[in-house]
Amino acid sequence: MKKHQSLLNLILIVLFIAIANRSAAQVTSGPSDATTAPPTAVTDVGKILCAGQNISIAGPQDVGGVDFTKYHWYKIDPSGNKQEVTAMTGRTYTETTGAPGYYNYQVVTENSNGCTSPISDVFKVFVLPPLTVAITTPTSSMCAIASSETLLTANVTPSSGYVINYQWTRNGVVIPGATSSTYDVTGETSPATVTFGVNVSYALSPTCPATGTKDIILTPIPTKPLITAN
């Protein structure tokens, strides 16, 4: 009987903790808003980060240049409600990012009298999705002759929604003016294997680039034949 009573108490405690945790504010670890279109300009948000970068934002100091007693950080959840993430003594708040999207924050400062400031405006951090690029071409081999050509195409992921900057290279050397998503290989007359590459980056942030390469084999053409008579 006593054993059953202890088991019942344990069940009740577990239930209580579960209910308490459920009733507490749930703070999302992902973006506040993953559906709205990306910003069109850098100035549309407070900060743009590459995928995998940590968020690191700070509240102000008092007029004497000293940290306030406490900083109450709030994060907007996907439903648009602000949830207090933490009440901390330091003024810097960091968070590991997850999925791309907007991460929206507000802060309230509290001084030594316990007086709190008005809540700040929303500070938006936009986290970009991972950027990758692959080069495709109809053929990886072409004749080493000026008239031969093939078209290289840079296929970027994400494939839409973002403005991408391109820069083509030939054997690691920037090809001047080659800044579109395709590059027409032509004029190659020397037999060799040439590595063509493309460096891509978001127009919103040049700090998270991606690179793709493609080797093109330039086959020597037969020499001009001579006809002989027996």
Binding site: S56, G59, E110, N111, G114, T116, S117
Partner: protein, 376 residues
């Protein structure tokens, strides 16, 4: 009707002559005293006071003296502690001859009055009297001690001095018997007061007396108290306006009690005199009691109305002052941004009565400005 606005003051010894009434206040005078001017008995004054008491004072009226009040007290002032109707009066010369029964009792002429009762004195021979010369109903005497005239009458002194004469009566068993009457001379269109002091001399069946003038009853009957002890003098008074009557008219005290057992009483200090009476209607309004919570230490600003216990704008007006004594609006009071001691009073909208000022201390702590967020 005229109205006078009186400034408020905590202790106002304000004696103001409005032709009719002079008042001093232990409370705080509210706002308006309405005075009905005139010289008839219908003079009415309304005194509205904030507080629990007010002292009413008479004012001199030429040719009149002996101020008295509705409760029988004499003097120029009366402190009242409840709302209600009061009056004071001053009387002219008493036209009653020997109203205090101090004159020699030799005969009806020297006594100054006549009666339907039989006069007796201590030396009267009364073989049928069981207990003194006033043993028989329908008899009266003028003396200093009722008990000297009837062994069952209580011993006590007269009303005038305690040692003078009074009229001592063994009531008759016949209604409307005149106990005391006298012809007096009146002038037309004059207010008169007819008053007397009376008491039972035996507790059984207290007498029922009535004033009369010119043969007509005047005022309500005078019912001697069945509970007051013998010798406790009771004051009875009524007023009369002579109208067109002039010259000599009889005034009388008539006994309406026909009980043979008891119905014994004494009368003294009969007055019939021109009178000036002032009716005073007193309204005592309570002073609001304002309670505040204090102190308060808050961030940014404070709503001073939150410090008021039972804040009720439907009933009260509120007045606010800052630490420098400057009046501030209610809107400002609800957004106090400066630390300091603030003073609040409340005024009852219906009565105009204002509470004592109360103070509360507010400490406003600075609040951080709206922060901005920067990215590191």
């Amino acid at each position: 009707m005229c109205a006078l606005t009186i400034p408020k003051k905590t202790t106002l010894l304000s004696c103001f002559l409005l032709g009719l009434v002079c008042l001093s206040f232990t409370g705080r005078l509210k706002r308006v005293i309405s005075v009905y001017t005139g010289l008839a008995l219908s003079n009415d004054t309304t005194v509205t006071v904030c507080g629990s008491s007010v002292t009413l004072n008479t004012v001199p009226v030429a040719g009149y003296s002996n101020p008295s009040w509705n409760n029988g007290s004499a003097g120029t002032s009366l402190t009242v502690t409840s709302s209600g109707d009061y009056w004071w009066q001053v009387t002219g010369t008493n036209v009653v001859t020997n109203g205090d029964f101090s004159a020699p009792t030799t005969n009806a002429t020297t006594r100054g009055f006549t009666s339907a009762y039989n006069y007796v004195k201590l030396t009267t021979n009364c073989p049928t009297c069981c207990c003194g010369v006033l043993s028989l109903e329908g008899t009266y005497a003028v003396g200093t001690n009722p008990n000297s005239y009837h062994t069952q009458f209580t011993a006590f002194g007269d009303h005038t001095s305690g040692s003078g004469n009074m009229l001592i009566v063994n009531g008759a068993a016949t209604a409307n018997t005149t106990v005391w009457t006298q012809n007096i001379t009146v002038i037309p269109n004059t207010d008169y007061v007819f008053s007397a002091w009376a008491t039972s001399v035996n507790p059984a069946s207290p007498a029922i007396l009535q004033f009369s003038i010119n043969g007509s009853p005047l005022g309500s009957t005078i019912n001697l108290s069945p509970t007051l002890a013998d010798g406790v003098w009771q004051y009875f008074t009524t007023t009369w306006n002579s109208g067109s009557t002039s010259g000599s008219v009889p005034i009388a005290l008539v006994n309406q009690n026909i009980a043979s057992n008891g119905n014994d009483f004494a009368v003294d200090d009969i007055v019939f005199a021109p009178v000036y009476r002032q009716n005073v209607h007193v309204v005592l309004n309570p002073i609001p009691v304002l309670a505040l919570t204090s102190p308060h230490e808050v961030c940014s600003f404070y709503d001073l109305t939150k410090a008021i216990v039972g804040y009720d704008t439907g009933t009260y007006n509120y007045f606010f002052k800052d630490s420098n004594g400057n009046t501030i609006t209610t809107a400002s009071a609800q957004n106090i941004t400066q630390s300091g001691t603030y003073t609040i009073t409340e005024q009852n909208k219906a009565t105009g009565c204002t509470s004592l000022p109360q103070q509360t201390t507010i400490t406003i702590d600075p609040t951080p400005q709206k922060p901005g967020i920067t990215s590191l």
